[in-house]
Symmetry: C2
Subunit: 191 residues, 2 copies
């Protein structure tokens, strides 16, 4: 495979992820994708092997980054609040890098066919690590005594859906976003 082939494939993947974000995997046809790329549907198959493969490579690549990232974070010897901030920063970074892929990860994971079990395993591992940070933070007195699951899903949901509004906030600097979102999520909105 040559460089030009690789970048053509990547261009298809990138455009596919954009369309998946707009309409969802199932509603995007290979003819839609081909038109957006500027080519006939059959020509796509010179570069990709299937529609399903586009989805699973897109999703799993990101999911692996998240799970590997949090496993590094949890084993650091720092307090829970610091870990939480690092998790927030990781979400922001990965979302800025690939907002369309994040949309697919969030909305289309159930359409993974062969790789669904692997995806679910990655997600379970991720949530387990995140939950451990919350539990440790409560035990050490850093976090409020609120139901773990409420605390967990309330933060996690905001982070998982950053892709919905991060692209619009082009004017906001990444470091500033990390700072403000950390404040909002950790210290709340009340003055």
């Amino acid at each position: 495979m040559k460089k030009s082939t690789l970048s053509r494939k990547q261009e298809i993947y990138r455009i596919a992820a954009q369309l998946f974000k707009e309409k969802g995997y199932s509603a995007v046809t290979m003819r839609d994708l081909a038109a957006a790329v500027g080519v006939k549907a059959a020509s796509l198959y010179n570069h990709i092997t299937s529609k399903q493969q586009i989805l699973s490579e897109t999703i799993l690549h990101i999911a692996e980054q998240f799970t590997e990232g949090i496993e590094i974070i949890v084993q650091q010897d720092v307090d829970a609040i610091t870990k939480l901030k690092e998790v927030i920063a990781q979400h922001i970074s990965l979302t800025i890098d690939n907002p369309y892929g994040m949309a697919a990860l969030n909305n289309d994971w159930m359409h993974l066919e062969g790789k669904l079990d692997y995806y679910l395993e990655l997600r379970t591992r991720y949530e387990k690590r995140f939950r451990q940070i919350v539990i440790d933070g409560k035990k050490s007195g850093e976090l409020k005594e609120v139901h773990t699951e409420i605390l967990l899903y309330s933060i996690l949901t905001t982070l998982r859906n950053l892709y919905l509004w991060i692209p619009k906030k082009g004017e906001l600097k990444k470091e500033e976003l990390i700072e403000e979102l950390s404040i909002t999520l950790i210290q709340g909105v009340e003055k």
Copy 2:
């Protein structure tokens, strides 16, 4: 139309919303829906007029409740924090009443055909009222000086995705959930 017809129609709508939540509107076929109802696909049309109608009635019914609800909340003569708590309570109530419909509202609104503009109008109105609460709260010194959009979307995203985990929390009482989620969102997770 008789009572039995109405309840049959409602049963179809209810099951459809469940399937939409699992796989998304586009991935649910009328044959899937029929099988879940226990009937052949063609028989559905004795009760409904189209797949699209199921989606739009499901989504718009909820969207109207939200927009009407927040317009009542904003015009009350109470402080911003109280309004915020009422918005949170409304989200929890409507989500408990109809978690599957909430999923469709969140994930499948873009597949509305004739009614898409109306939906977007409702959503814009809703966000405008919500944003006004945030702006007022900052002005009155009740809320932190964080970017309005960050504060807005961070809360709103959590609320919009309650359907993802509320069904699992059957053991948790509604009033308790409102209390704990209000604390988490308004005062943050840090002790």
